[in-house]
Protein backbone atom coordinates (compact mmCIF):
# COMPACT_ATOMS: atom_id res chain seq x y z
CA UNK A 1 0.00 0.00 0.00
CA UNK A 2 1.25 3.45 -0.88
CA UNK A 3 1.63 5.81 2.05
CA UNK A 4 -0.41 8.97 1.73
CA UNK A 5 2.71 11.17 1.81
CA UNK A 6 4.30 9.04 -0.92
CA UNK A 7 1.11 9.27 -2.96
CA UNK A 8 1.34 13.05 -2.74
CA UNK A 9 4.73 12.96 -4.49
CA UNK A 10 3.96 10.66 -7.38
CA UNK A 11 4.23 11.79 -10.98
CA UNK A 12 1.17 12.06 -13.20
CA UNK A 13 2.56 9.41 -15.53
CA UNK A 14 2.82 6.92 -12.65
CA UNK A 15 -0.56 7.85 -11.20
CA UNK A 16 -2.35 7.44 -14.52
CA UNK A 17 -1.69 3.72 -14.57
CA UNK A 18 -2.72 3.29 -10.93
CA UNK A 19 -5.93 5.25 -11.49
CA UNK A 20 -6.86 3.30 -14.59
CA UNK A 21 -6.25 -0.08 -12.95
CA UNK A 22 -8.11 0.92 -9.80
CA UNK A 23 -4.98 0.61 -7.65
CA UNK A 24 -5.67 4.13 -6.41
CA UNK A 25 -8.76 6.35 -6.51
CA UNK A 26 -9.12 10.03 -7.33
CA UNK A 27 -10.37 10.49 -3.76
CA UNK A 28 -7.20 8.99 -2.32
CA UNK A 29 -5.10 11.28 -4.51
CA UNK A 30 -7.12 14.30 -3.44
CA UNK A 31 -6.88 13.28 0.22
CA UNK A 32 -3.10 13.02 -0.07
CA UNK A 33 -2.88 16.51 -1.57
CA UNK A 34 -5.32 18.08 0.92
CA UNK A 35 -3.53 16.50 3.87
CA UNK A 36 -0.23 18.04 2.74
CA UNK A 37 -1.95 21.41 2.29
CA UNK A 38 -3.51 21.20 5.77
CA UNK A 39 -0.12 20.41 7.31
CA UNK A 40 2.20 22.77 5.48
CA UNK A 41 0.48 25.43 3.40
CA UNK A 42 0.38 27.88 6.32
CA UNK A 43 4.20 27.84 6.18
CA UNK A 44 4.67 27.96 2.43
CA UNK A 45 1.81 30.30 1.32
CA UNK A 46 1.69 28.92 -2.19
CA UNK A 47 -2.02 29.54 -2.87
CA UNK A 48 -4.05 32.74 -3.05
CA UNK A 49 -7.34 30.88 -3.50
CA UNK A 50 -8.14 27.24 -2.74
CA UNK A 51 -11.26 25.69 -4.27
CA UNK A 52 -13.72 24.61 -1.51
CA UNK A 53 -13.21 20.97 -0.47
CA UNK A 54 -16.85 20.11 -1.21
CA UNK A 55 -16.41 21.08 -4.88
CA UNK A 56 -13.15 19.16 -5.12
CA UNK A 57 -14.78 16.03 -3.69
CA UNK A 58 -17.57 16.24 -6.27
CA UNK A 59 -14.95 16.36 -9.00
CA UNK A 60 -13.11 13.40 -7.45
CA UNK A 61 -16.43 11.47 -7.37
CA UNK A 62 -16.89 12.13 -11.06
CA UNK A 63 -13.27 11.16 -11.80
CA UNK A 64 -13.65 7.86 -9.97
CA UNK A 65 -16.89 7.14 -11.85
CA UNK A 66 -15.15 7.82 -15.18
CA UNK A 67 -12.18 5.62 -14.26
CA UNK A 68 -14.50 2.72 -13.34
CA UNK A 69 -16.14 3.05 -16.76
CA UNK A 70 -12.64 2.88 -18.32
CA UNK A 71 -13.27 6.24 -19.95
CA UNK A 72 -10.52 8.22 -18.26
CA UNK A 73 -8.72 10.99 -20.05
CA UNK A 74 -5.09 12.04 -19.67
CA UNK A 75 -5.58 14.04 -16.47
CA UNK A 76 -8.71 12.47 -14.98
CA UNK A 77 -8.45 12.78 -11.19
CA UNK A 78 -5.21 14.81 -11.17
CA UNK A 79 -5.17 17.92 -8.90
CA UNK A 80 -3.64 20.94 -10.66
CA UNK A 81 -2.62 24.42 -9.47
CA UNK A 82 -3.21 27.36 -11.81
CA UNK A 83 -1.09 30.48 -11.52
CA UNK A 84 -3.33 33.31 -10.38
CA UNK A 85 -2.84 35.37 -13.52
CA UNK A 86 -4.71 32.81 -15.66
CA UNK A 87 -8.48 32.86 -15.96
CA UNK A 88 -10.49 30.03 -14.43
CA UNK A 89 -14.20 30.56 -14.85
CA UNK A 90 -15.87 31.67 -11.63
CA UNK A 91 -12.68 31.61 -9.54
CA UNK A 92 -11.14 34.89 -8.46
CA UNK A 93 -8.15 35.99 -10.53
CA UNK A 94 -6.06 38.53 -8.63
CA UNK A 95 -2.81 38.64 -10.57
CA UNK A 96 -1.29 38.77 -7.10
CA UNK A 97 -2.45 42.36 -6.68
CA UNK A 98 -5.05 44.27 -4.69
CA UNK A 99 -5.95 45.98 -7.98
CA UNK A 100 -7.86 42.87 -9.05
CA UNK A 101 -8.91 41.49 -5.68
CA UNK A 102 -12.56 41.25 -6.81
CA UNK A 103 -12.12 40.05 -10.40
CA UNK A 104 -13.98 36.82 -11.27
CA UNK A 105 -13.41 35.77 -14.92
CA UNK A 106 -16.47 34.55 -16.83
CA UNK A 107 -14.44 32.20 -19.04
CA UNK A 108 -11.47 29.88 -18.81
CA UNK A 109 -8.16 30.68 -20.48
CA UNK A 110 -7.90 28.24 -23.43
CA UNK A 111 -4.92 26.51 -21.77
CA UNK A 112 -7.00 26.01 -18.61
CA UNK A 113 -10.00 24.87 -20.61
CA UNK A 114 -7.83 22.18 -22.23
CA UNK A 115 -6.54 20.99 -18.84
CA UNK A 116 -10.13 20.74 -17.60
CA UNK A 117 -11.23 18.87 -20.71
CA UNK A 118 -8.39 16.41 -20.13
CA UNK A 119 -9.96 15.69 -16.72
CA UNK A 120 -7.72 17.80 -14.45
CA UNK A 121 -9.14 18.95 -11.11
CA UNK A 122 -8.36 22.62 -10.43
CA UNK A 123 -7.18 22.74 -6.83
CA UNK A 124 -6.70 26.48 -6.59
CA UNK A 125 -4.96 29.62 -7.80
CA UNK A 126 -1.26 29.85 -7.03
CA UNK A 127 0.50 32.84 -5.49
CA UNK A 128 2.80 34.95 -7.68
CA UNK A 129 4.91 38.06 -7.66
CA UNK A 130 2.52 41.00 -8.10
CA UNK A 131 1.35 40.96 -11.74
CA UNK A 132 4.24 38.55 -12.42
CA UNK A 133 6.71 41.44 -12.34
CA UNK A 134 9.50 40.07 -10.19
CA UNK A 135 11.56 37.04 -9.29
CA UNK A 136 11.10 36.66 -5.53
CA UNK A 137 7.36 36.09 -4.88
CA UNK A 138 7.59 38.51 -1.97
CA UNK A 139 4.04 39.75 -2.35
CA UNK A 140 2.77 42.62 -0.17
CA UNK A 141 -0.88 41.89 -1.01
CA UNK A 142 -1.06 38.13 -0.47
CA UNK A 143 2.08 37.33 1.49
CA UNK A 144 5.46 35.86 0.63
CA UNK A 145 5.75 32.37 -0.82
CA UNK A 146 8.40 30.36 1.03
CA UNK A 147 10.80 27.80 -0.43
CA UNK A 148 9.88 24.33 0.91
CA UNK A 149 13.55 23.30 0.98
CA UNK A 150 14.30 26.10 3.44
CA UNK A 151 11.47 28.38 4.45
CA UNK A 152 13.80 31.32 5.06
CA UNK A 153 14.63 31.42 1.34
CA UNK A 154 12.67 32.71 -1.64
CA UNK A 155 10.68 30.38 -3.84
CA UNK A 156 11.73 32.34 -6.89
CA UNK A 157 9.17 33.96 -9.12
CA UNK A 158 7.00 34.97 -10.54
CA UNK A 159 5.41 31.52 -10.70
CA UNK A 160 6.63 30.80 -7.16
CA UNK A 161 3.30 29.54 -5.82
CA UNK A 162 3.01 27.08 -8.70
CA UNK A 163 6.54 25.75 -8.08
CA UNK A 164 6.03 25.42 -4.32
CA UNK A 165 2.63 23.69 -4.74
CA UNK A 166 4.24 21.04 -6.97
CA UNK A 167 7.42 20.67 -4.88
CA UNK A 168 5.52 20.46 -1.57
CA UNK A 169 3.16 17.66 -2.57
CA UNK A 170 0.03 19.83 -2.86
CA UNK A 171 -0.53 19.73 -6.63
CA UNK A 172 0.71 17.15 -9.13
CA UNK A 173 1.45 19.83 -11.70
CA UNK A 174 0.87 23.52 -12.24
CA UNK A 175 0.72 26.19 -14.87
CA UNK A 176 3.19 29.04 -14.98
CA UNK A 177 3.92 32.07 -17.10
CA UNK A 178 7.37 33.21 -18.15
CA UNK A 179 8.28 36.68 -19.45
CA UNK A 180 11.93 36.79 -18.35
CA UNK A 181 12.34 33.45 -16.59
CA UNK A 182 9.25 33.23 -14.36
CA UNK A 183 8.64 29.51 -14.89
CA UNK A 184 12.26 28.39 -14.96
CA UNK A 185 13.59 30.41 -12.00
CA UNK A 186 11.11 29.13 -9.37
CA UNK A 187 11.14 25.62 -10.87
CA UNK A 188 14.94 25.61 -10.49
CA UNK A 189 14.96 27.04 -6.97
CA UNK A 190 12.28 24.58 -5.78
CA UNK A 191 13.70 21.47 -7.48
CA UNK A 192 11.06 20.72 -10.14
CA UNK A 193 10.82 20.64 -13.95
CA UNK A 194 9.61 23.68 -15.90
CA UNK A 195 9.27 24.43 -19.59
CA UNK A 196 9.04 27.77 -21.34
CA UNK A 197 7.88 26.63 -24.77
CA UNK A 198 8.25 28.33 -28.13
CA UNK A 199 6.46 31.70 -28.25
CA UNK A 200 2.71 31.21 -28.60
CA UNK A 201 2.92 27.41 -28.67
CA UNK A 202 0.51 27.51 -25.74
CA UNK A 203 -2.14 30.24 -26.14
CA UNK A 204 -1.74 33.40 -24.07
CA UNK A 205 -5.41 34.34 -24.22
CA UNK A 206 -7.07 34.54 -20.82
CA UNK A 207 -3.76 35.34 -19.16
CA UNK A 208 -3.16 38.74 -17.56
CA UNK A 209 -0.39 40.15 -19.76
CA UNK A 210 2.90 41.45 -18.44
CA UNK A 211 4.61 42.14 -21.76
CA UNK A 212 2.73 40.86 -24.82
CA UNK A 213 5.72 40.11 -26.99
CA UNK A 214 7.70 38.31 -24.26
CA UNK A 215 4.97 36.42 -22.35
CA UNK A 216 4.85 32.61 -22.52
CA UNK A 217 2.63 30.00 -20.81
CA UNK A 218 4.10 26.66 -19.77
CA UNK A 219 3.96 23.62 -17.47
CA UNK A 220 5.61 23.05 -14.08
CA UNK A 221 5.87 19.38 -13.12
CA UNK A 222 7.78 16.70 -11.22
CA UNK A 223 9.36 15.01 -14.23
CA UNK A 224 10.04 15.59 -17.92
CA UNK A 225 7.39 13.12 -19.09
CA UNK A 226 4.75 15.09 -17.18
CA UNK A 227 6.00 18.35 -18.69
CA UNK A 228 5.64 16.81 -22.14
CA UNK A 229 2.13 15.61 -21.31
CA UNK A 230 1.00 19.04 -20.11
CA UNK A 231 2.60 20.78 -23.06
CA UNK A 232 0.73 18.51 -25.45
CA UNK A 233 -2.55 19.10 -23.67
CA UNK A 234 -2.22 22.88 -23.35
CA UNK A 235 -0.93 23.34 -26.91
CA UNK A 236 -3.42 20.81 -28.26
CA UNK A 237 -0.58 19.30 -30.27
CA UNK A 238 1.26 15.99 -29.97
CA UNK A 239 5.04 16.30 -29.63
CA UNK A 240 6.96 14.48 -32.34
CA UNK A 241 9.61 12.09 -31.07
CA UNK A 242 12.10 13.12 -33.71
CA UNK A 243 12.23 16.58 -35.14
CA UNK A 244 13.71 18.28 -38.14
CA UNK A 245 17.21 18.66 -36.75
CA UNK A 246 17.41 15.08 -35.48
CA UNK A 247 15.57 12.99 -38.01
CA UNK A 248 16.92 9.45 -38.17
CA UNK A 249 17.97 9.35 -34.55
CA UNK A 250 16.52 6.77 -32.22
CA UNK A 251 14.50 8.28 -29.37
CA UNK A 252 16.74 6.72 -26.75
CA UNK A 253 19.99 7.23 -28.62
CA UNK A 254 21.57 10.60 -27.94
CA UNK A 255 24.83 9.82 -29.72
CA UNK A 256 25.72 12.70 -31.94
CA UNK A 257 23.57 15.29 -30.27
CA UNK A 258 25.62 18.45 -30.22
CA UNK A 259 25.43 20.44 -27.00
CA UNK A 260 26.64 24.04 -27.04
CA UNK A 261 28.13 25.57 -23.89
CA UNK A 262 28.34 29.39 -23.89
CA UNK A 263 30.99 29.42 -21.14
CA UNK A 264 32.02 33.01 -21.79
CA UNK A 265 28.74 34.29 -20.35
CA UNK A 266 29.10 32.23 -17.14
CA UNK A 267 31.19 34.88 -15.37
CA UNK A 268 28.54 35.31 -12.65
CA UNK A 269 28.15 31.80 -11.25
CA UNK A 270 28.45 30.53 -7.69
CA UNK A 271 31.34 28.05 -7.48
CA UNK A 272 29.28 25.29 -5.81
CA UNK A 273 26.49 25.71 -8.37
CA UNK A 274 29.16 25.60 -11.09
CA UNK A 275 30.39 22.30 -9.65
CA UNK A 276 26.90 20.76 -9.93
CA UNK A 277 26.54 22.18 -13.43
CA UNK A 278 29.81 20.55 -14.54
CA UNK A 279 28.56 17.21 -13.18
CA UNK A 280 25.39 17.66 -15.24
CA UNK A 281 27.48 18.35 -18.33
CA UNK A 282 29.48 15.18 -17.61
CA UNK A 283 26.14 13.34 -17.56
CA UNK A 284 25.30 14.76 -20.99
CA UNK A 285 28.64 13.39 -22.22
CA UNK A 286 27.85 9.97 -20.72
CA UNK A 287 24.58 10.05 -22.65
CA UNK A 288 26.53 10.31 -25.91
CA UNK A 289 26.26 14.05 -26.46
CA UNK A 290 29.22 15.98 -27.78
CA UNK A 291 30.00 19.20 -25.94
CA UNK A 292 31.13 22.24 -27.92
CA UNK A 293 32.03 25.72 -26.73
CA UNK A 294 29.90 28.39 -28.38
CA UNK A 295 29.72 32.12 -28.03
CA UNK A 296 26.58 34.24 -27.95
CA UNK A 297 27.34 37.49 -29.76
CA UNK A 298 25.93 40.66 -28.21
CA UNK A 299 24.62 38.80 -25.17
CA UNK A 300 25.33 41.90 -23.06
CA UNK A 301 22.63 43.84 -24.91
CA UNK A 302 19.87 41.31 -24.34
CA UNK A 303 19.09 42.42 -20.80
CA UNK A 304 18.69 46.15 -21.58
CA UNK A 305 16.59 45.26 -24.60
CA UNK A 306 14.37 42.90 -22.62
CA UNK A 307 14.01 45.50 -19.85
CA UNK A 308 13.05 48.27 -22.29
CA UNK A 309 10.41 46.06 -23.91
CA UNK A 310 9.06 44.81 -20.57
CA UNK A 311 8.90 48.30 -19.07
CA UNK A 312 7.20 49.88 -22.07
CA UNK A 313 4.71 47.08 -22.73
CA UNK A 314 4.20 46.52 -19.00
CA UNK A 315 3.20 50.11 -18.40
CA UNK A 316 0.92 50.08 -21.42
CA UNK A 317 -0.88 47.06 -19.92
CA UNK A 318 -1.52 48.96 -16.69
CA UNK A 319 -2.33 52.43 -18.05
CA UNK A 320 -6.03 52.36 -17.31
CA UNK A 321 -5.83 50.65 -13.94
CA UNK A 322 -2.91 52.90 -12.96
CA UNK A 323 -5.05 55.97 -13.62
CA UNK A 324 -7.93 54.69 -11.52
CA UNK A 325 -6.33 52.50 -8.85
CA UNK A 326 -2.70 53.55 -8.55
CA UNK A 327 -2.90 53.51 -4.74
CA UNK A 328 -3.74 49.80 -4.79
CA UNK A 329 -0.43 48.81 -6.38
CA UNK A 330 2.57 48.04 -4.20
CA UNK A 331 5.30 50.69 -4.10
CA UNK A 332 7.46 48.40 -6.24
CA UNK A 333 4.83 48.16 -8.98
CA UNK A 334 4.09 51.89 -8.83
CA UNK A 335 7.74 52.63 -9.55
CA UNK A 336 7.98 50.05 -12.33
CA UNK A 337 4.91 51.54 -14.01
CA UNK A 338 6.45 55.02 -13.76
CA UNK A 339 9.68 53.79 -15.32
CA UNK A 340 7.70 52.45 -18.26
CA UNK A 341 6.44 55.96 -19.02
CA UNK A 342 10.02 57.15 -19.31
CA UNK A 343 11.12 54.65 -21.98
CA UNK A 344 11.36 56.60 -25.26
CA UNK A 345 9.61 54.97 -28.22
CA UNK A 346 12.94 55.02 -30.06
CA UNK A 347 14.51 52.86 -27.33
CA UNK A 348 11.62 50.43 -27.42
CA UNK A 349 11.89 50.11 -31.19
CA UNK A 350 15.69 49.83 -31.04
CA UNK A 351 15.25 46.89 -28.69
CA UNK A 352 12.74 45.25 -31.03
CA UNK A 353 14.93 45.79 -34.09
CA UNK A 354 17.88 44.23 -32.24
CA UNK A 355 15.59 41.36 -31.32
CA UNK A 356 15.30 40.23 -34.93
CA UNK A 357 19.06 40.38 -35.44
CA UNK A 358 19.82 38.53 -32.21
CA UNK A 359 17.18 35.88 -32.85
CA UNK A 360 18.60 35.25 -36.31
CA UNK A 361 22.12 34.91 -34.90
CA UNK A 362 20.82 32.37 -32.37
CA UNK A 363 19.09 30.47 -35.17
CA UNK A 364 22.41 30.40 -37.03
CA UNK A 365 24.07 29.01 -33.92
CA UNK A 366 21.47 26.23 -33.78
CA UNK A 367 22.77 25.05 -37.13
CA UNK A 368 26.07 24.26 -35.38
CA UNK A 369 24.64 22.75 -32.19
CA UNK A 370 21.34 21.05 -31.36
CA UNK A 371 20.85 22.33 -27.84
CA UNK A 372 22.42 24.78 -25.43
CA UNK A 373 23.25 23.84 -21.83
CA UNK A 374 23.39 26.49 -19.12
CA UNK A 375 22.96 26.74 -15.36
CA UNK A 376 19.32 27.80 -14.96
CA UNK A 377 20.08 30.20 -12.09
CA UNK A 378 23.63 31.18 -11.02
CA UNK A 379 23.02 30.64 -7.29
CA UNK A 380 20.75 28.67 -5.00
CA UNK A 381 17.62 30.41 -3.69
CA UNK A 382 18.66 33.63 -1.89
CA UNK A 383 17.35 34.49 1.56
CA UNK A 384 14.00 36.30 1.67
CA UNK A 385 14.62 40.05 1.85
CA UNK A 386 17.97 39.95 0.10
CA UNK A 387 18.02 42.55 -2.69
CA UNK A 388 21.59 42.01 -3.87
CA UNK A 389 23.17 38.70 -4.84
CA UNK A 390 26.94 38.41 -4.50
CA UNK A 391 29.13 35.93 -6.32
CA UNK A 392 32.91 35.99 -6.20
CA UNK A 393 33.10 39.67 -5.24
CA UNK A 394 30.62 40.75 -7.90
CA UNK A 395 27.15 42.03 -6.93
CA UNK A 396 23.99 41.87 -9.01
CA UNK A 397 20.47 43.08 -8.18
CA UNK A 398 18.36 40.00 -7.46
CA UNK A 399 16.15 40.31 -10.57
CA UNK A 400 19.21 40.50 -12.81
CA UNK A 401 20.87 37.55 -11.07
CA UNK A 402 17.78 35.35 -11.24
CA UNK A 403 17.04 36.03 -14.91
CA UNK A 404 20.63 36.21 -16.19
CA UNK A 405 20.56 32.96 -18.21
CA UNK A 406 16.82 32.92 -18.84
CA UNK A 407 15.49 36.05 -20.51
CA UNK A 408 17.42 35.58 -23.77
CA UNK A 409 15.03 32.76 -24.62
CA UNK A 410 12.01 35.01 -24.03
CA UNK A 411 13.68 37.52 -26.32
CA UNK A 412 14.13 34.93 -29.09
CA UNK A 413 10.95 32.99 -28.31
CA UNK A 414 12.97 29.75 -28.24
CA UNK A 415 12.02 26.84 -25.95
CA UNK A 416 13.97 26.25 -22.72
CA UNK A 417 13.58 23.44 -20.19
CA UNK A 418 14.85 23.44 -16.62
CA UNK A 419 15.67 20.18 -14.83
CA UNK A 420 16.69 19.40 -11.24
CA UNK A 421 20.47 18.82 -11.15
CA UNK A 422 21.45 18.28 -7.54
CA UNK A 423 21.65 20.26 -4.33
CA UNK A 424 24.00 22.80 -2.77
CA UNK A 425 23.68 23.38 0.98
CA UNK A 426 20.30 21.63 0.97
CA UNK A 427 18.86 23.83 -1.79
CA UNK A 428 18.11 22.71 -5.35
CA UNK A 429 20.30 23.47 -8.36
CA UNK A 430 19.14 23.14 -11.97
CA UNK A 431 20.26 22.62 -15.55
CA UNK A 432 18.70 24.63 -18.39
CA UNK A 433 18.51 23.17 -21.90
CA UNK A 434 17.41 25.36 -24.81
CA UNK A 435 16.76 24.64 -28.49
CA UNK A 436 15.67 26.27 -31.71
CA UNK A 437 12.01 27.18 -32.22
CA UNK A 438 9.52 24.29 -32.07
CA UNK A 439 12.18 21.79 -30.92
CA UNK A 440 10.51 20.99 -27.59
CA UNK A 441 10.54 17.33 -28.62
CA UNK A 442 14.33 17.30 -28.59
CA UNK A 443 14.44 18.98 -25.17
CA UNK A 444 12.05 16.40 -23.74
CA UNK A 445 14.09 13.58 -25.22
CA UNK A 446 17.39 14.83 -23.81
CA UNK A 447 15.72 15.79 -20.53
CA UNK A 448 14.23 12.34 -20.07
CA UNK A 449 17.55 10.63 -20.75
CA UNK A 450 19.19 13.02 -18.28
CA UNK A 451 16.72 11.89 -15.62
CA UNK A 452 17.53 8.24 -16.37
CA UNK A 453 21.30 8.78 -16.22
CA UNK A 454 20.94 10.72 -12.98
CA UNK A 455 18.63 8.02 -11.52
CA UNK A 456 16.23 10.87 -10.84
CA UNK A 457 13.43 10.44 -8.35
CA UNK A 458 11.02 12.97 -6.89
CA UNK A 459 12.56 14.39 -3.72
CA UNK A 460 10.45 15.43 -0.73
CA UNK A 461 11.37 18.78 0.83
CA UNK A 462 11.99 18.71 4.59
CA UNK A 463 8.70 20.32 5.65
CA UNK A 464 8.41 18.65 9.00
CA UNK A 465 7.90 21.34 11.59
CA UNK A 466 6.93 24.95 11.97
CA UNK A 467 9.69 27.31 10.90
CA UNK A 468 10.95 29.66 13.57
CA UNK A 469 10.76 33.40 13.32
CA UNK A 470 9.58 33.77 9.76
CA UNK A 471 5.80 33.45 9.87
Amino acid sequence: MTLQSDLAFMTITALREDLDTGAVSAHEILDAALERIRQYESYTNSFITLVPEESLRKEADEADRICKLKESRLLTGIPIAIKDNMYVQGIRCTGGSRVLESFFPETDAPAVERLKKAGGIILGKANLHEFARGATNVNPAFGTTHNPWNLAHISGGSSGGSAVAVASGYAYCATGTDTGGSIRCPAALCGIVGLKPTYDKIPRQGVLPLSWSLDHVGPMTRCVEDAKLLTEIMSNKKESKSDKSQSGLNENDLNGIRVGMPRKIFHFLDSKVAGQFEKAVDNLREMGCTITEVSIPHFEFVRPAVLAITMAEGTSVHEKWAKEKFHLYSRELQRLIEIGYSIPATHYLRALRFRGEFTQSMKNMFREVDILALPTVPTVAPLIGKEIVEVGGESFPILKAMSLYLSMFNFTGMPALTLPAGFVDGLPVALELAADHWNEGLLFRVGKSFEIVRKYRVEKPPLTSAPQGIM
Binding site: T198, Y199, D200, W212, S213, H298, E300, F301, R303, P304, A305, L307, A308, M311, S330, R331, E332, Q334, R335, L336, E338, I339, S342, I343, P344, T346, H347, L349, R350, A351, L352, R353, F354, R355, G356, E357, T359, Q360, K363, E387, I388, P397, I398, L399, K400, F411, T412, G413, M414, D436, H437, W438
Partner: protein, 65 residues
Protein backbone atom coordinates in the same frame (compact mmCIF):
# COMPACT_ATOMS: atom_id res chain seq x y z
CA UNK B 1 18.96 67.82 -31.23
CA UNK B 2 21.01 66.21 -28.50
CA UNK B 3 19.15 63.02 -27.68
CA UNK B 4 21.59 62.25 -24.88
CA UNK B 5 20.41 65.37 -23.06
CA UNK B 6 16.78 64.30 -23.37
CA UNK B 7 17.62 60.85 -22.06
CA UNK B 8 19.70 62.29 -19.24
CA UNK B 9 16.77 64.49 -18.26
CA UNK B 10 14.38 61.57 -18.13
CA UNK B 11 16.87 59.66 -16.09
CA UNK B 12 17.47 62.54 -13.67
CA UNK B 13 13.74 63.00 -13.16
CA UNK B 14 13.37 59.33 -12.34
CA UNK B 15 16.30 59.46 -9.96
CA UNK B 16 14.72 62.39 -8.09
CA UNK B 17 11.45 60.48 -7.89
CA UNK B 18 13.10 57.42 -6.43
CA UNK B 19 15.41 59.35 -4.12
CA UNK B 20 14.76 58.07 -0.62
CA UNK B 21 12.30 55.48 -1.86
CA UNK B 22 13.59 52.06 -0.89
CA UNK B 23 10.69 50.18 -2.51
CA UNK B 24 13.07 49.18 -5.27
CA UNK B 25 16.61 49.55 -4.07
CA UNK B 26 17.96 48.73 -7.49
CA UNK B 27 15.94 51.18 -9.57
CA UNK B 28 18.93 53.24 -10.51
CA UNK B 29 20.76 50.15 -11.71
CA UNK B 30 17.65 49.17 -13.66
CA UNK B 31 17.47 52.55 -15.36
CA UNK B 32 21.15 52.63 -16.17
CA UNK B 33 20.91 49.12 -17.59
CA UNK B 34 18.26 50.26 -20.00
CA UNK B 35 19.63 53.65 -21.07
CA UNK B 36 23.35 52.87 -21.09
CA UNK B 37 22.82 49.43 -22.53
CA UNK B 38 20.64 50.58 -25.40
CA UNK B 39 22.91 53.51 -26.18
CA UNK B 40 25.88 51.14 -26.38
CA UNK B 41 23.79 48.88 -28.57
CA UNK B 42 23.15 51.77 -30.95
CA UNK B 43 26.84 52.70 -31.02
CA UNK B 44 28.40 49.25 -31.19
CA UNK B 45 26.04 47.02 -33.16
CA UNK B 46 25.32 47.53 -36.82
CA UNK B 47 21.62 46.87 -37.28
CA UNK B 48 20.65 47.11 -40.97
CA UNK B 49 18.19 49.83 -41.88
CA UNK B 50 15.77 47.29 -43.25
CA UNK B 51 15.66 45.40 -39.93
CA UNK B 52 12.09 45.91 -38.75
CA UNK B 53 10.97 45.65 -35.13
CA UNK B 54 10.24 42.04 -34.24
CA UNK B 55 7.15 41.81 -32.05
CA UNK B 56 6.41 38.15 -32.62
CA UNK B 57 9.41 35.79 -32.61
CA UNK B 58 7.19 32.99 -33.91
CA UNK B 59 7.16 34.89 -37.24
CA UNK B 60 10.89 34.36 -37.65
CA UNK B 61 10.51 30.80 -36.47
CA UNK B 62 7.61 30.06 -38.82
CA UNK B 63 9.75 31.05 -41.77
CA UNK B 64 12.31 28.45 -40.79
CA UNK B 65 9.84 25.78 -39.72
Amino acid sequence: MNTEVIQESIWEIQKVRINGDDSIKNLESLLSSIFEGLNSLRDQVEIPLEAEPLFDPSKISEAAK
